[in-house]
Amino acid sequence: MRRLLVTLAFCLAALPAAAQPACGDRAAECSTEHGFYRLAMPKGVTSPVPAIVFLHGWGGSSEGMMKNKAMLATLSARGYALIAPEGVRTSPQRDQKNWAVRDGRDYERDDLAFIAEVLADAAARGIDRNRVLMTGFSRGASMVWDVACHMPKAARAYAPVAGAFWDPLPEACEGPVDLFQTHGWTDKVVPLEGRSVAGGTLTQGDAFASLRILRDANDCDPQMPDTAPMEADGDLWFRNWTHCPGGRIDLMLHPGGHSVPAGWLERALDWFEARLVDGS
Protein backbone atom coordinates (compact mmCIF):
# COMPACT_ATOMS: atom_id res chain seq x y z
CA MET A 1 0.00 0.00 0.00
CA ARG A 2 2.70 2.35 0.99
CA ARG A 3 4.65 1.52 -2.15
CA LEU A 4 1.55 2.12 -4.22
CA LEU A 5 1.09 5.53 -2.67
CA VAL A 6 4.68 6.46 -3.32
CA THR A 7 4.37 5.31 -6.91
CA LEU A 8 1.15 7.24 -7.30
CA ALA A 9 2.75 10.35 -5.83
CA PHE A 10 5.67 9.92 -8.16
CA CYS A 11 3.36 9.61 -11.12
CA LEU A 12 1.36 12.66 -10.10
CA ALA A 13 4.51 14.69 -9.72
CA ALA A 14 5.95 13.45 -12.98
CA LEU A 15 2.81 13.76 -15.09
CA PRO A 16 2.45 17.51 -14.95
CA ALA A 17 6.14 17.89 -15.62
CA ALA A 18 5.88 15.74 -18.69
CA ALA A 19 2.77 17.57 -19.92
CA GLN A 20 4.08 21.00 -18.93
CA PRO A 21 3.66 23.22 -21.97
CA ALA A 22 6.59 25.44 -22.82
CA CYS A 23 6.60 29.23 -22.70
CA GLY A 24 5.08 30.42 -25.96
CA ASP A 25 2.11 28.10 -25.60
CA ARG A 26 -0.81 30.00 -24.14
CA ALA A 27 -1.33 27.36 -21.44
CA ALA A 28 2.18 27.92 -20.11
CA GLU A 29 3.42 30.27 -17.44
CA CYS A 30 6.64 32.02 -18.43
CA SER A 31 8.49 32.68 -15.20
CA THR A 32 10.53 35.75 -14.48
CA GLU A 33 12.29 36.75 -11.28
CA HIS A 34 9.27 38.47 -9.74
CA GLY A 35 6.30 36.76 -11.33
CA PHE A 36 5.14 35.25 -14.56
CA TYR A 37 3.42 36.03 -17.82
CA ARG A 38 1.81 34.06 -20.60
CA LEU A 39 2.85 34.31 -24.21
CA ALA A 40 0.95 33.31 -27.36
CA MET A 41 3.06 33.46 -30.48
CA PRO A 42 1.36 33.99 -33.85
CA LYS A 43 1.16 30.95 -36.08
CA GLY A 44 3.40 30.46 -39.09
CA VAL A 45 5.49 33.57 -38.63
CA THR A 46 9.24 33.83 -38.31
CA SER A 47 10.50 35.82 -35.40
CA PRO A 48 11.09 38.46 -34.34
CA VAL A 49 7.43 39.39 -34.24
CA PRO A 50 5.61 42.46 -32.97
CA ALA A 51 3.62 42.09 -29.77
CA ILE A 52 0.76 43.53 -27.85
CA VAL A 53 1.12 43.49 -24.08
CA PHE A 54 -2.27 43.42 -22.39
CA LEU A 55 -2.52 44.07 -18.65
CA HIS A 56 -5.66 42.49 -17.22
CA GLY A 57 -8.08 44.43 -15.04
CA TRP A 58 -8.29 44.23 -11.23
CA GLY A 59 -9.24 40.69 -10.27
CA GLY A 60 -8.46 39.37 -13.78
CA SER A 61 -5.66 37.03 -14.74
CA SER A 62 -3.31 36.20 -17.59
CA GLU A 63 -5.20 32.94 -17.94
CA GLY A 64 -8.40 34.87 -18.52
CA MET A 65 -6.62 36.95 -21.19
CA MET A 66 -5.57 33.78 -22.99
CA LYS A 67 -9.19 32.63 -23.16
CA ASN A 68 -10.09 35.55 -25.40
CA LYS A 69 -10.04 33.55 -28.63
CA ALA A 70 -11.32 36.37 -30.81
CA MET A 71 -8.44 38.56 -29.67
CA LEU A 72 -5.89 35.81 -30.21
CA ALA A 73 -7.26 35.11 -33.69
CA THR A 74 -7.02 38.77 -34.73
CA LEU A 75 -3.51 39.06 -33.31
CA SER A 76 -2.31 35.87 -34.93
CA ALA A 77 -3.81 36.83 -38.29
CA ARG A 78 -1.94 40.11 -38.14
CA GLY A 79 1.30 38.45 -37.04
CA TYR A 80 1.31 39.67 -33.44
CA ALA A 81 2.22 37.86 -30.28
CA LEU A 82 0.13 38.38 -27.14
CA ILE A 83 2.01 38.96 -23.90
CA ALA A 84 -0.22 38.69 -20.84
CA PRO A 85 1.65 39.46 -17.61
CA GLU A 86 0.05 38.33 -14.35
CA GLY A 87 -0.65 40.81 -11.56
CA VAL A 88 0.00 40.06 -7.89
CA ARG A 89 -2.49 39.10 -5.19
CA THR A 90 -4.23 42.05 -3.60
CA SER A 91 -3.52 40.54 -0.17
CA PRO A 92 -2.46 37.16 1.25
CA GLN A 93 -6.11 36.47 2.06
CA ARG A 94 -7.47 37.38 -1.34
CA ASP A 95 -6.86 35.80 -4.67
CA GLN A 96 -7.67 38.79 -6.90
CA LYS A 97 -4.73 40.00 -8.94
CA ASN A 98 -3.78 43.65 -8.92
CA TRP A 99 -1.15 46.07 -10.27
CA ALA A 100 1.13 48.29 -8.24
CA VAL A 101 -0.28 51.52 -9.64
CA ARG A 102 0.99 54.71 -7.98
CA ASP A 103 -2.02 55.44 -5.85
CA GLY A 104 -0.49 56.38 -2.53
CA ARG A 105 -0.24 52.81 -1.21
CA ASP A 106 2.82 50.59 -0.87
CA TYR A 107 3.07 47.41 -2.90
CA GLU A 108 5.38 44.47 -2.44
CA ARG A 109 6.25 44.21 -6.09
CA ASP A 110 7.53 47.05 -8.25
CA ASP A 111 5.43 46.50 -11.37
CA LEU A 112 7.46 48.90 -13.50
CA ALA A 113 10.44 46.63 -12.90
CA PHE A 114 8.29 43.53 -13.41
CA ILE A 115 7.02 44.76 -16.80
CA ALA A 116 10.60 45.54 -17.87
CA GLU A 117 11.61 42.04 -16.77
CA VAL A 118 8.72 40.50 -18.77
CA LEU A 119 9.69 42.41 -21.91
CA ALA A 120 13.35 41.43 -21.57
CA ASP A 121 12.33 37.79 -21.22
CA ALA A 122 9.91 37.97 -24.16
CA ALA A 123 12.64 39.48 -26.34
CA ALA A 124 14.69 36.35 -25.75
CA ARG A 125 11.73 34.35 -27.09
CA GLY A 126 11.33 36.07 -30.44
CA ILE A 127 9.51 39.33 -29.63
CA ASP A 128 10.72 42.42 -31.46
CA ARG A 129 11.45 44.88 -28.63
CA ASN A 130 10.98 47.78 -31.04
CA ARG A 131 7.45 46.81 -31.97
CA VAL A 132 5.65 46.46 -28.65
CA LEU A 133 2.25 48.08 -28.07
CA MET A 134 1.41 48.16 -24.38
CA THR A 135 -2.28 48.04 -23.55
CA GLY A 136 -4.47 47.19 -20.61
CA PHE A 137 -7.97 47.50 -19.23
CA SER A 138 -9.23 49.32 -16.15
CA ARG A 139 -6.68 48.94 -13.33
CA GLY A 140 -4.40 47.41 -15.97
CA ALA A 141 -4.87 50.55 -18.07
CA SER A 142 -3.81 52.63 -15.07
CA MET A 143 -0.64 50.52 -14.92
CA VAL A 144 -0.13 51.29 -18.62
CA TRP A 145 -0.36 55.01 -17.81
CA ASP A 146 2.24 54.57 -15.06
CA VAL A 147 4.61 52.74 -17.42
CA ALA A 148 4.05 55.36 -20.15
CA CYS A 149 4.81 58.16 -17.72
CA HIS A 150 7.62 56.75 -15.59
CA MET A 151 9.28 54.35 -18.05
CA PRO A 152 8.23 55.75 -21.44
CA LYS A 153 10.77 53.77 -23.45
CA ALA A 154 9.44 50.42 -22.20
CA ALA A 155 7.17 50.09 -25.24
CA ARG A 156 6.97 51.75 -28.66
CA ALA A 157 3.45 53.01 -27.92
CA TYR A 158 0.58 52.75 -25.43
CA ALA A 159 -3.15 52.09 -25.76
CA PRO A 160 -4.90 52.01 -22.38
CA VAL A 161 -8.65 51.35 -22.14
CA ALA A 162 -10.92 52.61 -19.34
CA GLY A 163 -8.21 53.69 -16.90
CA ALA A 164 -5.88 56.61 -16.24
CA PHE A 165 -3.54 57.84 -13.49
CA TRP A 166 -4.66 57.52 -9.88
CA ASP A 167 -4.29 60.36 -7.39
CA PRO A 168 -1.87 61.82 -6.58
CA LEU A 169 -1.33 62.63 -10.24
CA PRO A 170 2.34 62.86 -11.25
CA GLU A 171 3.76 66.36 -11.56
CA ALA A 172 5.45 65.41 -14.80
CA CYS A 173 6.52 62.40 -16.86
CA GLU A 174 9.95 61.10 -17.80
CA GLY A 175 9.61 61.68 -21.52
CA PRO A 176 7.27 61.89 -24.49
CA VAL A 177 5.10 59.00 -25.68
CA ASP A 178 2.59 57.99 -28.34
CA LEU A 179 -0.62 57.11 -26.51
CA PHE A 180 -4.15 56.23 -27.63
CA GLN A 181 -6.67 56.47 -24.79
CA THR A 182 -10.10 54.84 -25.03
CA HIS A 183 -12.83 55.56 -22.48
CA GLY A 184 -16.59 55.05 -22.16
CA TRP A 185 -18.76 58.13 -21.69
CA THR A 186 -21.04 56.22 -19.32
CA ASP A 187 -18.31 54.33 -17.41
CA LYS A 188 -19.34 54.26 -13.74
CA VAL A 189 -16.55 51.95 -12.53
CA VAL A 190 -13.66 54.11 -13.67
CA PRO A 191 -15.50 57.28 -14.67
CA LEU A 192 -13.73 59.89 -16.80
CA GLU A 193 -13.51 62.15 -13.76
CA GLY A 194 -12.33 59.32 -11.51
CA ARG A 195 -13.91 57.99 -8.35
CA SER A 196 -13.04 57.58 -4.69
CA VAL A 197 -12.78 54.02 -3.45
CA ALA A 198 -11.81 52.24 -0.24
CA GLY A 199 -13.64 54.76 1.93
CA GLY A 200 -12.02 57.71 0.22
CA THR A 201 -8.46 56.52 0.91
CA LEU A 202 -7.83 55.82 -2.77
CA THR A 203 -8.91 57.97 -5.67
CA GLN A 204 -8.92 57.29 -9.38
CA GLY A 205 -7.51 60.28 -11.23
CA ASP A 206 -9.32 62.43 -13.75
CA ALA A 207 -8.67 61.19 -17.31
CA PHE A 208 -8.73 64.71 -18.72
CA ALA A 209 -6.20 65.90 -16.15
CA SER A 210 -4.08 62.83 -16.94
CA LEU A 211 -4.12 63.68 -20.64
CA ARG A 212 -3.01 67.18 -19.81
CA ILE A 213 0.08 65.85 -18.05
CA LEU A 214 0.92 63.79 -21.13
CA ARG A 215 0.43 66.82 -23.37
CA ASP A 216 3.00 68.62 -21.26
CA ALA A 217 5.34 65.62 -21.57
CA ASN A 218 4.89 65.75 -25.35
CA ASP A 219 5.38 69.53 -25.37
CA CYS A 220 1.95 70.07 -26.98
CA ASP A 221 1.38 73.76 -27.60
CA PRO A 222 -1.41 74.63 -28.05
CA GLN A 223 -3.35 72.36 -25.72
CA MET A 224 -6.17 72.01 -28.24
CA PRO A 225 -6.27 68.96 -30.51
CA ASP A 226 -5.48 69.38 -34.19
CA THR A 227 -8.61 67.51 -35.09
CA ALA A 228 -11.67 66.34 -33.19
CA PRO A 229 -13.53 64.13 -35.62
CA MET A 230 -16.61 62.04 -34.98
CA GLU A 231 -17.64 58.88 -36.72
CA ALA A 232 -20.41 59.30 -39.24
CA ASP A 233 -23.01 57.82 -36.92
CA GLY A 234 -21.86 60.00 -34.04
CA ASP A 235 -21.03 57.06 -31.82
CA LEU A 236 -17.33 57.72 -31.42
CA TRP A 237 -15.84 61.07 -30.55
CA PHE A 238 -12.11 61.60 -31.08
CA ARG A 239 -9.52 64.18 -30.16
CA ASN A 240 -6.17 63.91 -31.94
CA TRP A 241 -3.04 65.76 -30.89
CA THR A 242 -0.85 65.03 -33.91
CA HIS A 243 1.54 67.97 -34.00
CA CYS A 244 3.14 67.82 -30.60
CA PRO A 245 6.94 67.76 -30.91
CA GLY A 246 7.37 64.82 -28.54
CA GLY A 247 4.73 62.35 -29.63
CA ARG A 248 1.14 61.86 -30.50
CA ILE A 249 -1.90 61.59 -28.26
CA ASP A 250 -5.32 60.34 -29.30
CA LEU A 251 -8.51 60.11 -27.29
CA MET A 252 -11.51 58.02 -28.28
CA LEU A 253 -14.73 58.35 -26.30
CA HIS A 254 -17.44 55.79 -26.94
CA PRO A 255 -21.01 55.66 -25.62
CA GLY A 256 -20.46 52.49 -23.60
CA GLY A 257 -19.57 51.88 -20.00
CA HIS A 258 -16.65 50.07 -18.39
CA SER A 259 -15.75 47.90 -21.36
CA VAL A 260 -13.40 47.38 -24.27
CA PRO A 261 -15.54 48.71 -27.11
CA ALA A 262 -16.25 46.63 -30.19
CA GLY A 263 -13.54 46.99 -32.82
CA TRP A 264 -11.01 48.40 -30.39
CA LEU A 265 -8.26 45.86 -31.13
CA GLU A 266 -8.28 46.41 -34.90
CA ARG A 267 -8.34 50.15 -34.37
CA ALA A 268 -5.50 50.03 -31.85
CA LEU A 269 -3.36 47.88 -34.17
CA ASP A 270 -4.05 50.18 -37.14
CA TRP A 271 -3.10 53.15 -34.98
CA PHE A 272 0.06 51.38 -33.79
CA GLU A 273 1.15 50.46 -37.32
CA ALA A 274 0.65 54.06 -38.40
CA ARG A 275 3.02 55.06 -35.56
CA LEU A 276 5.59 52.52 -36.74
CA VAL A 277 5.37 54.04 -40.23
CA ASP A 278 5.67 57.57 -38.75
CA GLY A 279 9.00 56.65 -37.20
CA SER A 280 9.81 57.52 -33.63
Binding site: F208, A209, R215, D221, W237
Partner: protein, 286 residues
Protein backbone atom coordinates in the same frame (compact mmCIF):
# COMPACT_ATOMS: atom_id res chain seq x y z
CA UNK B 1 -30.82 130.58 -38.82
CA UNK B 2 -29.88 130.32 -35.20
CA UNK B 3 -33.54 130.11 -34.27
CA UNK B 4 -34.12 127.33 -36.75
CA UNK B 5 -31.22 125.38 -35.34
CA UNK B 6 -32.54 125.81 -31.83
CA UNK B 7 -35.98 124.65 -32.93
CA UNK B 8 -34.54 121.66 -34.68
CA UNK B 9 -32.61 120.75 -31.55
CA UNK B 10 -35.75 121.11 -29.49
CA UNK B 11 -37.52 118.71 -31.80
CA UNK B 12 -34.68 116.21 -31.81
CA UNK B 13 -34.26 116.12 -28.06
CA UNK B 14 -37.75 114.88 -27.18
CA UNK B 15 -37.65 112.39 -30.06
CA UNK B 16 -34.40 110.91 -28.83
CA UNK B 17 -35.67 110.86 -25.29
CA UNK B 18 -38.74 108.93 -26.35
CA UNK B 19 -36.64 106.41 -28.28
CA UNK B 20 -34.39 105.84 -25.30
CA UNK B 21 -36.95 104.69 -22.79
CA UNK B 22 -35.35 101.71 -21.10
CA UNK B 23 -37.32 98.51 -21.80
CA UNK B 24 -37.37 98.53 -25.60
CA UNK B 25 -34.57 97.13 -27.70
CA UNK B 26 -33.56 100.45 -29.29
CA UNK B 27 -32.83 101.99 -25.90
CA UNK B 28 -29.68 102.09 -23.84
CA UNK B 29 -30.31 101.78 -20.11
CA UNK B 30 -27.48 103.63 -18.42
CA UNK B 31 -25.94 102.65 -15.09
CA UNK B 32 -23.08 104.26 -13.18
CA UNK B 33 -20.38 102.34 -15.06
CA UNK B 34 -21.92 101.49 -18.43
CA UNK B 35 -25.20 100.56 -20.02
CA UNK B 36 -27.37 97.63 -20.94
CA UNK B 37 -30.33 96.97 -23.18
CA UNK B 38 -33.59 95.58 -21.89
CA UNK B 39 -36.44 94.01 -23.85
CA UNK B 40 -39.51 93.24 -21.77
CA UNK B 41 -41.83 90.48 -22.95
CA UNK B 42 -44.98 91.59 -24.70
CA UNK B 43 -48.06 91.92 -22.54
CA UNK B 44 -46.11 91.42 -19.33
CA UNK B 45 -47.66 92.49 -16.09
CA UNK B 46 -45.94 92.54 -12.73
CA UNK B 47 -42.42 91.26 -12.40
CA UNK B 48 -41.01 88.93 -15.04
CA UNK B 49 -38.13 86.44 -15.14
CA UNK B 50 -35.12 87.40 -17.23
CA UNK B 51 -32.31 85.98 -19.27
CA UNK B 52 -29.11 88.00 -19.04
CA UNK B 53 -26.98 87.32 -22.10
CA UNK B 54 -23.37 88.51 -22.20
CA UNK B 55 -22.18 88.99 -25.77
CA UNK B 56 -18.92 87.56 -27.07
CA UNK B 57 -15.66 89.47 -27.26
CA UNK B 58 -15.86 92.25 -29.86
CA UNK B 59 -19.64 92.11 -30.07
CA UNK B 60 -22.25 94.46 -28.59
CA UNK B 61 -25.49 94.54 -26.64
CA UNK B 62 -27.27 95.64 -29.84
CA UNK B 63 -26.21 92.44 -31.59
CA UNK B 64 -27.83 90.42 -28.79
CA UNK B 65 -31.10 92.37 -28.93
CA UNK B 66 -30.91 92.09 -32.74
CA UNK B 67 -31.51 88.34 -32.46
CA UNK B 68 -35.21 88.37 -33.26
CA UNK B 69 -35.66 84.59 -33.00
CA UNK B 70 -34.27 84.68 -29.47
CA UNK B 71 -36.48 87.63 -28.54
CA UNK B 72 -39.57 85.93 -29.92
CA UNK B 73 -38.99 82.78 -27.90
CA UNK B 74 -38.19 84.71 -24.73
CA UNK B 75 -41.27 86.88 -25.13
CA UNK B 76 -43.48 83.84 -25.78
CA UNK B 77 -42.23 82.27 -22.56
CA UNK B 78 -42.67 85.51 -20.61
CA UNK B 79 -38.99 86.35 -20.19
CA UNK B 80 -37.22 89.67 -20.48
CA UNK B 81 -33.85 89.87 -22.20
CA UNK B 82 -31.10 91.83 -20.49
CA UNK B 83 -28.11 92.53 -22.71
CA UNK B 84 -25.31 94.36 -20.89
CA UNK B 85 -22.66 96.05 -23.00
CA UNK B 86 -19.02 95.12 -22.47
CA UNK B 87 -16.26 97.59 -21.84
CA UNK B 88 -14.03 99.09 -24.54
CA UNK B 89 -10.63 97.46 -24.88
CA UNK B 90 -7.78 99.91 -24.50
CA UNK B 91 -6.98 101.31 -27.97
CA UNK B 92 -9.54 99.06 -29.67
CA UNK B 93 -13.22 99.59 -30.42
CA UNK B 94 -14.13 95.95 -29.63
CA UNK B 95 -16.11 95.36 -26.50
CA UNK B 96 -14.67 93.09 -23.86
CA UNK B 97 -15.41 91.67 -20.41
CA UNK B 98 -13.20 92.06 -17.35
CA UNK B 99 -12.57 88.32 -17.00
CA UNK B 100 -9.94 87.26 -14.45
CA UNK B 101 -7.15 86.47 -16.90
CA UNK B 102 -3.98 87.97 -15.46
CA UNK B 103 -4.61 91.32 -17.14
CA UNK B 104 -5.84 94.60 -15.70
CA UNK B 105 -9.24 95.71 -17.00
CA UNK B 106 -10.63 99.24 -16.76
CA UNK B 107 -13.98 98.14 -15.30
CA UNK B 108 -14.92 95.64 -12.59
CA UNK B 109 -17.51 93.66 -14.51
CA UNK B 110 -18.73 91.64 -11.54
CA UNK B 111 -19.75 94.98 -9.98
CA UNK B 112 -21.12 96.20 -13.30
CA UNK B 113 -23.43 93.19 -13.73
CA UNK B 114 -24.67 93.64 -10.14
CA UNK B 115 -25.42 97.26 -11.00
CA UNK B 116 -27.27 96.19 -14.17
CA UNK B 117 -29.40 93.71 -12.24
CA UNK B 118 -30.25 96.28 -9.55
CA UNK B 119 -31.35 98.68 -12.25
CA UNK B 120 -33.31 96.02 -14.15
CA UNK B 121 -35.19 95.18 -10.94
CA UNK B 122 -36.53 98.75 -11.02
CA UNK B 123 -37.87 98.05 -14.51
CA UNK B 124 -39.93 95.00 -13.60
CA UNK B 125 -37.38 92.16 -13.50
CA UNK B 126 -37.83 89.54 -10.77
CA UNK B 127 -34.41 89.38 -9.12
CA UNK B 128 -35.12 85.81 -7.95
CA UNK B 129 -35.69 84.50 -11.46
CA UNK B 130 -32.61 85.56 -13.37
CA UNK B 131 -30.68 83.14 -15.57
CA UNK B 132 -27.20 84.43 -16.41
CA UNK B 133 -25.91 83.27 -19.78
CA UNK B 134 -23.23 84.34 -22.20
CA UNK B 135 -21.22 83.26 -25.20
CA UNK B 136 -17.47 82.85 -25.63
CA UNK B 137 -15.69 85.63 -23.71
CA UNK B 138 -19.16 86.41 -22.32
CA UNK B 139 -19.40 82.76 -21.25
CA UNK B 140 -16.12 83.19 -19.38
CA UNK B 141 -17.57 86.24 -17.63
CA UNK B 142 -20.53 84.06 -16.56
CA UNK B 143 -18.09 81.55 -15.02
CA UNK B 144 -16.35 84.37 -13.14
CA UNK B 145 -19.63 85.75 -11.78
CA UNK B 146 -20.89 82.25 -10.90
CA UNK B 147 -17.69 81.63 -8.98
CA UNK B 148 -16.94 84.97 -7.34
CA UNK B 149 -20.46 86.47 -6.94
CA UNK B 150 -22.70 83.39 -7.01
CA UNK B 151 -25.74 85.19 -5.59
CA UNK B 152 -25.91 87.48 -8.65
CA UNK B 153 -28.28 85.18 -10.53
CA UNK B 154 -30.46 82.19 -9.64
CA UNK B 155 -28.53 80.01 -12.11
CA UNK B 156 -25.89 80.20 -14.83
CA UNK B 157 -25.74 78.90 -18.40
CA UNK B 158 -22.43 79.76 -20.09
CA UNK B 159 -21.69 78.70 -23.67
CA UNK B 160 -18.32 78.15 -25.36
CA UNK B 161 -16.28 79.89 -22.67
CA UNK B 162 -14.99 79.01 -19.20
CA UNK B 163 -12.45 80.26 -16.66
CA UNK B 164 -9.25 81.79 -17.95
CA UNK B 165 -5.97 81.04 -16.23
CA UNK B 166 -5.07 81.20 -13.46
CA UNK B 167 -8.05 79.05 -12.44
CA UNK B 168 -9.53 79.91 -9.05
CA UNK B 169 -8.71 77.52 -6.20
CA UNK B 170 -12.35 77.46 -5.20
CA UNK B 171 -15.55 79.48 -5.47
CA UNK B 172 -17.61 81.52 -3.00
CA UNK B 173 -20.64 79.23 -2.77
CA UNK B 174 -22.44 76.38 -4.51
CA UNK B 175 -24.28 77.12 -7.76
CA UNK B 176 -26.53 75.65 -10.42
CA UNK B 177 -24.67 75.80 -13.72
CA UNK B 178 -25.34 74.38 -17.19
CA UNK B 179 -22.32 74.58 -19.49
CA UNK B 180 -22.48 73.99 -23.26
CA UNK B 181 -19.44 73.53 -25.48
CA UNK B 182 -18.66 72.43 -29.05
CA UNK B 183 -16.46 69.35 -29.46
CA UNK B 184 -14.81 70.94 -32.49
CA UNK B 185 -14.50 74.48 -31.13
CA UNK B 186 -11.15 75.92 -32.27
CA UNK B 187 -11.67 79.47 -31.01
CA UNK B 188 -12.21 78.54 -27.38
CA UNK B 189 -11.28 74.85 -27.43
CA UNK B 190 -12.37 72.63 -24.54
CA UNK B 191 -8.74 72.45 -23.44
CA UNK B 192 -8.23 76.19 -23.85
CA UNK B 193 -5.76 78.13 -25.97
CA UNK B 194 -2.95 80.54 -25.20
CA UNK B 195 -2.21 84.07 -26.34
CA UNK B 196 0.63 86.57 -26.01
CA UNK B 197 3.41 84.01 -25.60
CA UNK B 198 1.44 82.06 -23.07
CA UNK B 199 0.81 84.95 -20.67
CA UNK B 200 -2.94 85.00 -21.34
CA UNK B 201 -4.47 81.53 -21.44
CA UNK B 202 -8.02 80.23 -21.77
CA UNK B 203 -8.59 77.64 -19.06
CA UNK B 204 -9.43 74.00 -19.55
CA UNK B 205 -13.19 73.37 -19.27
CA UNK B 206 -12.71 70.01 -17.55
CA UNK B 207 -10.37 71.59 -15.00
CA UNK B 208 -12.90 74.40 -14.49
CA UNK B 209 -15.66 71.87 -13.83
CA UNK B 210 -13.41 70.22 -11.24
CA UNK B 211 -13.27 73.54 -9.36
CA UNK B 212 -17.07 73.83 -9.46
CA UNK B 213 -17.55 70.23 -8.32
CA UNK B 214 -15.30 70.92 -5.36
CA UNK B 215 -17.39 73.99 -4.52
CA UNK B 216 -20.68 72.11 -4.81
CA UNK B 217 -19.40 69.16 -2.80
CA UNK B 218 -19.70 66.68 -5.68
CA UNK B 219 -17.50 64.28 -3.79
CA UNK B 220 -18.24 61.33 -6.01
CA UNK B 221 -16.53 63.18 -8.86
CA UNK B 222 -18.44 61.21 -11.45
CA UNK B 223 -21.77 62.42 -12.83
CA UNK B 224 -24.96 60.69 -11.72
CA UNK B 225 -25.91 60.24 -15.32
CA UNK B 226 -24.22 60.73 -18.66
CA UNK B 227 -26.99 60.42 -21.23
CA UNK B 228 -26.83 61.01 -24.95
CA UNK B 229 -29.76 62.22 -26.91
CA UNK B 230 -31.40 59.83 -29.36
CA UNK B 231 -29.32 60.86 -32.33
CA UNK B 232 -26.09 60.62 -30.36
CA UNK B 233 -25.30 64.19 -31.30
CA UNK B 234 -25.41 65.60 -27.80
CA UNK B 235 -23.37 64.13 -24.97
CA UNK B 236 -24.44 65.20 -21.50
CA UNK B 237 -23.01 64.79 -18.01
CA UNK B 238 -25.28 65.62 -15.06
CA UNK B 239 -24.11 66.07 -11.49
CA UNK B 240 -27.44 66.11 -9.67
CA UNK B 241 -26.59 64.63 -6.27
CA UNK B 242 -23.88 66.98 -5.02
CA UNK B 243 -24.11 68.26 -1.44
CA UNK B 244 -25.44 71.50 -2.90
CA UNK B 245 -26.24 72.86 -6.32
CA UNK B 246 -26.19 71.12 -9.62
CA UNK B 247 -23.85 70.98 -12.61
CA UNK B 248 -24.67 69.96 -16.17
CA UNK B 249 -22.38 69.70 -19.15
CA UNK B 250 -23.57 69.46 -22.74
CA UNK B 251 -21.10 68.74 -25.52
CA UNK B 252 -22.31 69.16 -29.08
CA UNK B 253 -20.58 68.30 -32.36
CA UNK B 254 -20.34 71.91 -33.54
CA UNK B 255 -17.65 74.51 -33.26
CA UNK B 256 -17.61 77.96 -31.64
CA UNK B 257 -21.33 78.61 -31.66
CA UNK B 258 -24.57 78.57 -29.73
CA UNK B 259 -25.93 75.15 -30.64
CA UNK B 260 -29.36 74.79 -32.18
CA UNK B 261 -32.08 74.47 -29.57
CA UNK B 262 -29.87 75.81 -26.79
CA UNK B 263 -32.29 78.54 -25.64
CA UNK B 264 -35.25 76.17 -25.26
CA UNK B 265 -33.09 73.65 -23.44
CA UNK B 266 -31.55 76.29 -21.16
CA UNK B 267 -34.96 77.75 -20.21
CA UNK B 268 -36.38 74.27 -19.55
CA UNK B 269 -33.37 73.51 -17.37
CA UNK B 270 -33.78 76.84 -15.55
CA UNK B 271 -37.46 76.27 -14.88
CA UNK B 272 -36.66 72.84 -13.44
CA UNK B 273 -34.26 74.58 -11.07
CA UNK B 274 -36.96 77.07 -10.03
CA UNK B 275 -39.48 74.25 -9.54
CA UNK B 276 -37.26 72.19 -7.25
CA UNK B 277 -36.57 75.07 -4.88
CA UNK B 278 -33.20 76.45 -3.95
CA UNK B 279 -30.98 73.38 -3.64
CA UNK B 280 -27.87 75.55 -3.79
CA UNK B 281 -28.15 75.97 -0.04
CA UNK B 282 -28.96 72.48 1.03
CA UNK B 283 -29.69 69.11 -0.46
CA UNK B 284 -28.39 66.54 1.96
CA UNK B 285 -28.22 66.47 5.74
CA UNK B 286 -30.41 69.48 6.52
Amino acid sequence: MRAILALTLLCLVPLTALAEECGVREAECPTANGFYRLVLPEGASGTVPALVFLHGGGSTAASVTGNTAMLAELSARGYALIAPEGQPRPSRPNKNWGVHDNRAHPRDDIAFIAEVLDDAALHGIDRDRVLLAGFSRGGSMVWDIACHAPASARADAPISGAFWEPLPEGCEAPIDLFHSHGWTDRVVPIEGRSFRDGTVVQGDVFAGLTVLRRTNGCNLRQPDSAPMDATGNLWLRNWTACASGRLDLMLHPGGHQVPKGWLTRALDWFEDRLAEGDTRLCRTGC
